[in-house]
Point group: C2
Chain length 197, copies 2
DNA sequence: GACTATCCGGATCAGTGATCCATATATTCG
DNA sequence: CGAATATATGGATCACTGATCCGGATAGTC
């Protein structure tokens, strides 16, 4: 890659990061190009789609989340690790308003630049979930895909200005549904909460 | 209203219903106008915003959901009524792909044509929730707004093609979190599960 | 210093919702 | 029944979106 091209690419990424933080991932690409003193065509050549731009921008975050999962796996109890990681995931998405919709679309679209990252994220969550389930700390009727969907829904919730104030609380509610009631470990009624349906 | 205007209005509503069922609520307004053999300006005069069009289109549904809640209140147990109604709400949104985002935005936007309907819906849910809580069947640390947000999140989930297959199952998961385990109503530890926040 | 492969970005295109206003028509009144 | 008026209509236009094309500028190489 030519030096001037690399310079433009890096600069575009920096500007895009700022713009997205300010206005969300739906920010006008033309705006980003304008703020980077670059033509729209240049932005689109470096990043052919919005997904491609995001992938480059979020790669670091994705790697950090994956690494975090690895740490939690050795440093925390299965249930704490799972919930803590899920919380990190939802918290992370708040920095990129609107990214959830793109990720939900990307996980099934093998053409999307975000596809691989989403699949990895789901697999990481699945690993933590399985660990918790094996330890009897998480309900066994959900899998990695369910987990991904739940986190996506909670993250989406945080993206909606009117619902965001409830996001943290509702995360706890959902988390309590995923974990087999740990509070009742002193009581006898372990986990048979659900009426058969 | 002039007779020809009324005719156009009704026809537009019918066409809009079809178009939205086929393509979701984000369908191009110009497309709707085209399919109704009408100018775009005509559609926009009858329904100044997309929300206004939806409000007219969904009014019947809203009324039905409200009525249904009334029936359930007298015909079913508090917990069954609540869950059944919530299920109806999420099931209903599947007919109007994408409506959830608009409703989430509308409930805080007093200018939106959908505002009133959303507020009513939330209030209806809150009534059913309170009834279940009073009967000791639902956790007491959530309110109507939380319920609205949860249903919205689940409905959004059903809107995403990649996540939709999990929607029904995850509804059950969330429902189980809302209901206090009925099995423990005979035990002493009623409901103090959550630290006050 | 010249040459070439690479990169750049203004111009353009089809699409979106919104708005304006001259035209067409339904309704009402004489 | 015919004319006047109030109302409704929709093509044209605007600003905006992302996508694409291609003549011109420039960096890297020989």
């Amino acid at each position: 890659m030519r030096a001037d091209a690399r310079k433009n690419r890096d600069h575009l990424l920096a500007v895009a990061g700022t713009a997205i933080t300010e206005q969300g991932v739906d920010v006008s690409l033309r705006d980003i190009a304008r703020r980077a003193d670059v033509g729209l065509a240049t932005l689109l050549r470096h990043f052919p789609t919005r997904e491609a731009l995001l992938e480059a921008l979020l790669r670091t975050s994705f790697d950090e989340l994956t690494a975090k999962a690895g740490e939690l796996e050795t440093s925390s109890s299965p249930d704490e690790a799972l919930v803590s990681w899920l919380r990190d995931c939802t918290a992370w998405t708040t920095e990129y308003r609107g990214v959830t919709v793109l990720m939900a679309a990307a996980i099934e679209d093998t053409e999307s630049a975000l596809h691989a990252s989403c699949v990895t994220l789901r697999a990481t969550g699945a690993r933590l979930l399985t660990r918790a389930q094996t330890a009897g700390k998480a309900r066994t009727d959900i899998d990695g895909a369910d987990l991904f969907a739940l986190v996506a829904a909670l993250a989406w919730l945080g993206d909606q200005p009117s619902l965001a104030p409830r996001a943290d609380h509702l995360f706890d509610v959902v988390a309590s549904a995923i974990l087999t009631s740990a509070a009742s470990n002193e009581a006898e009624g372990k986990h048979r909460p659900r009426a058969r349906d």
